[in-house]
C-alpha cells in the first residue's frame, strides 16, 4: 500500500529531523559558540506533527492501548457489539476534533509563530488532517471487523 509507506516515511522523517535539530542545537552552542534561536520551536512543531501522524499509524495498526479484559468475558455477539460501540464513540471524538480543529485553523490563518514566522494555521492543520485519517481507519476497522 502506497499510502501506508508514505505515512510511515513522513513520520520517520519527522523523528529524524527532531534528532538532528536537538543535536545541532547543542553542537552549535558549545562547539561553534553560536546558539540557534529557531531550532527549539521547529523541533517542537515537528514533534506535534509526528505525534498526530503516528497516532493515525497506530490506529491503522490497532496499537492504541485498550482495556479488553472485561470485554473478553462477554459472549461473542456482545463482544462484536462492544467493538462497534467503542469505534462509534471514538469516531464522535474525532469528529469533534476535526470540527473545532478546523475552526482553530481558520482563527490562526494570519498568525505566525514567534521564532520562525511559521503560519500557525498551517501548524494547526494537523488536527483536522489527523482526524480525517483517524475516521478513515475507524470506519475501516468496523467494516473489516477489526
Amino acid at each position: 500500500m502506497k499510502i501506508n509507506k508514505l505515512m510511515d516515511g513522513v513520520a520517520v522523517l519527522c523523528m529524524a529531523l527532531i534528532l538532528l535539530l536537538v543535536v545541532a542545537q547543542v553542537v552549535m552552542r558549545y562547539v561553534f559558540n553560536s546558539p540557534l534561536v529557531w531550532s527549539e520551536e521547529l523541533a517542537v512543531y515537528v514533534m506535534v506533527w509526528m505525534t498526530f501522524i503516528g497516532s493515525v499509524i497506530c490506529m491503522r495498526d490497532n496499537e492504541h492501548i485498550e482495556v479488553t479484559i472485561l470485554v473478553d468475558y462477554l459472549p461473542h455477539s456482545l463482544q462484536r457489539g462492544a467493538f462497534v460501540f467503542s469505534r462509534l464513540v471514538s469516531a464522535i471524538f474525532w469528529v469533534i476534533v476535526a470540527y473545532y480543529g478546523f475552526e482553530l485553523v481558520q482563527e490562526n490563518r494570519v498568525v505566525t509563530s514567534a521564532a520562525n514566522q511559521i503560519n500557525m494555521g498551517l501548524v494547526y492543520s494537523i488536527l483536522p488532517l489527523c482526524s480525517i485519517g483517524m475516521l478513515f481507519y475507524i470506519i475501516r476497522s468496523v467494516v473489516k471487523g477489526e
Binding site: Q25, V48, G54, I57
Partner: protein, 428 residues
C-alpha cells in the same frame, strides 16, 4: 460534580474497550458540555499540551531504548552481568535484575525494557532450567525499575505538570531504583533456594574482563546522557539527543550491528511508541484543565485533612488508593489525572514535590505489573507466550518487595532527597 462525570464516563468507556486516550478525551468533552464551556478548548488543549520543549525528551528517550536493542547493547550488558553473578544461588535471576538496572540507565520506559531485554532474559533462563512463568514474572517485575532509575518518561511528564526540576527527580530516583533491584535480588535468592534452581559455574577473571571490555562502550551511554544534565550544561532534552546520537554511533561504528534499514526501523518503532504515549498525554490535558478549574484538588485536600491531620495516615491512604488505581487504569493516565488532584494536599502536608514525585511514580509503576490492567504483564505474556492468568499468579510474590520499597521511600524522604540535595544543592 465535573469530577464524578469524568471518572464515570471514563471508566465505562474504557471497560467497553474504547482506546484509553479517546475515553479520557471524551470524558472531558462530556464535562465541558455539562459546564457549557466551548469545545474549542479540546483541540486547543491537545495542541498546547504538546507544545513544550521538555516533552521532546520523550521521543528521544524512546529512541535510545529502541536503538539499544537493535544496536547490540542489551545482549552485551546481559553477558556482562552474567559473568559476574551466575555462580550465586539465583544465577540468571540476578543477571536479569542487574541487566535491568543497567538498561534502566539508558531507557525511560518499563514497557520498552520488558520487550527489549525480556526476550533475551526469558530465553536464557528457560535454557538454564528456570520455570518459564517464574522467569516471565521476574522480568516483568524488574522492568519496573526502568522508569525509576533515570532517564524516565514518567518523571518527565510529572516534572512538566508540576514544574519540578527534571534533574532533581532523575537523581532522586537513583537510590530507590537500586533498592528495588536489591529487594528483588533478595527475593530471587530465597525463592531459588526453595525451588532448587541450579547455578552456572563461576566465570574466570579472563571471561569477566572480556565481557566487561565488550560492554564498556554501552556502559558509557548513561554517563554521556547524565553528566551534562546533572551539572546543568545541557537540558534533559538535549542530553537525550546526545545519547541518541551516541547510540547510533555505537550501532554503526563500534558494534557494527546497525545499518540504514535498521535505523529506519528503529525510527519507525520510536514513532509508534511515542505516539501512543503522547496521544494519552494530550488527550488527558483537557481533563487536567477541567479538574484544575473545578476546584476539586482543593476540595480533596480539605476532605482528607478533615479526615485526618496525620501525615503518616494520609500518605498511607494516598499510596493504597494509587495502588488500587494502578490495578485498574493505565499508568500515564493515572499520572495525568492524579498529580493535579493531589498537589494541593501534598503542599499542605509539606511534602517535597521531588520526594512525592518519586514515590508517586514508583507506585504507578507497580501498577504496570498488577492485574487486571498492567501493561508490562501484557507485553511479557506476548513475548514469553505465558497465559495472562498464569502470569498474574506468578507475579504476586514479586509485588511484595516492591511495595516494601515504596513504603520505605515514602516514610524516609532522605532516601530520595539526599542525592539531589548533595549534588545539586538544597532546593530554594
Amino acid at each position: 460534580m465535573e469530577a464524578t462525570i469524568i471518572m464515570g464516563v471514563m471508566l465505562v468507556l474504557m471497560m467497553l474497550r474504547v482506546p484509553v486516550a479517546f475515553a479520557m478525551a471524551l470524558s472531558a468533552v462530556v464535562a465541558l458540555m455539562v459546564g457549557d464551556i466551548p469545545l474549542t478548548l479540546v483541540p486547543q488543549r491537545m495542541f498546547n499540551s504538546l507544545d513544550s520543549f521538555p516533552l521532546l525528551a520523550i521521543p528521544l528517550f524512546v529512541f535510545v531504548g529502541e536503538a539499544m536493542n537493535t544496536g547490540g547493547i542489551t545482549t552485551r550488558i546481559f553477558n556482562f552481568a552474567r559473568e559476574y553473578v551466575k555462580h550465586i544461588t539465583g544465577s540468571l535471576g540476578h543477571v536479569n535484575v542487574i541487566s535491568n538496572i543497567i538498561v534502566a540507565g539508558m531507557s525511560g520506559s518499563a514497557v520498552a525494557d520488558a520487550s527489549a531485554i525480556g526476550v533475551v532474559e526469558i530465553k536464557a533462563m528457560e535454557e538454564d532450567g528456570f520455570d518459564r512463568d517464574w522467569s516471565a514474572a521476574l522480568t516483568a517485575a524488574s522492568s519496573t525499575i526502568g522508569p525509576i532509575i533515570p532517564p524516565s518518561i514518567p518523571f518527565v511528564i510529572y516534572a512538566i505538570i508540576t514544574e519540578t526540576s527534571i534533574g532533581r527527580l532523575f537523581l532522586g530516583g537513583l537510590i530507590p531504583g537500586l533498592m528495588m533491584g536489591i529487594s528483588l535480588m533478595i527475593l530471587v535468592y530465597i525463592m531459588s533456594k526453595q525451588r532448587g534452581y541450579k547455578v552456572e559455574p563461576k566465570a574466570t577473571w579472563g571471561e569477566r574482563l572480556d565481557a566487561t571490555w565488550k560492554a564498556i562502550p554501552s556502559l558509557l551511554t548513561p554517563v554521556i546522557m547524565f553528566s551534562g544534565i546533572v551539572f546543568g550544561i545541557v537540558t534533559p532534552t538535549e542530553g537525550a539527543g546526545i545519547a541518541a546520537a551516541y547510540a547510533i554511533f555505537l550501532g554503526f561504528v563500534i558494534h557494527r550491528e546497525m545499518d540504514l534499514p535498521g535505523l529506519y526501523h528503529i525510527l519507525l518503532r520510536t514513532v509508534h511508541c511515542t505516539a501512543v504515549i503522547m496521544l494519552i498525554i494530550c488527550s488527558s490535558s483537557a481533563i487536567t484543565w477541567v479538574v484544575q478549574t473545578s476546584g476539586l484538588p482543593d476540595q480533596v485536600a480539605a476532605w482528607l485533612l478533615a479526615f485526618s491531620d496525620s501525615k503518616v495516615v494520609l500518605l498511607i491512604f494516598i499510596n493504597v488508593v494509587l495502588l488500587i488505581m494502578g490495578c485498574l487504569l493505565e499508568s500515564n493516565s493515572i499520572i495525568m489525572i492524579m498529580v493535579p488532584v493531589l498537589m494541593p494536599l501534598i503542599h499542605a502536608l509539606g511534602v517535597d514535590p521531588v520526594h512525592f514525585g518519586v514515590f508517586f511514580i514508583l507506585n504507578v509503576m507497580i501498577g504496570l505489573i498488577t492485574p487486571p490492567v498492567g501493561m508490562c504483564l501484557y507485553v511479557i505474556c506476548n513475548i514469553a507466550d505465558v497465559p495472562f492468568e498464569k502470569l498474574s499468579r506468578a507475579i504476586v510474590p514479586f509485588i511484595i518487595p516492591l511495595v516494601i520499597v515504596l513504603f520505605l521511600i515514602t516514610f524516609i524522604p532522605d532516601l530520595v532527597l539526599w542525592l539531589p540535595n548533595h549534588v545539586m544543592g538544597l532546593a530554594k
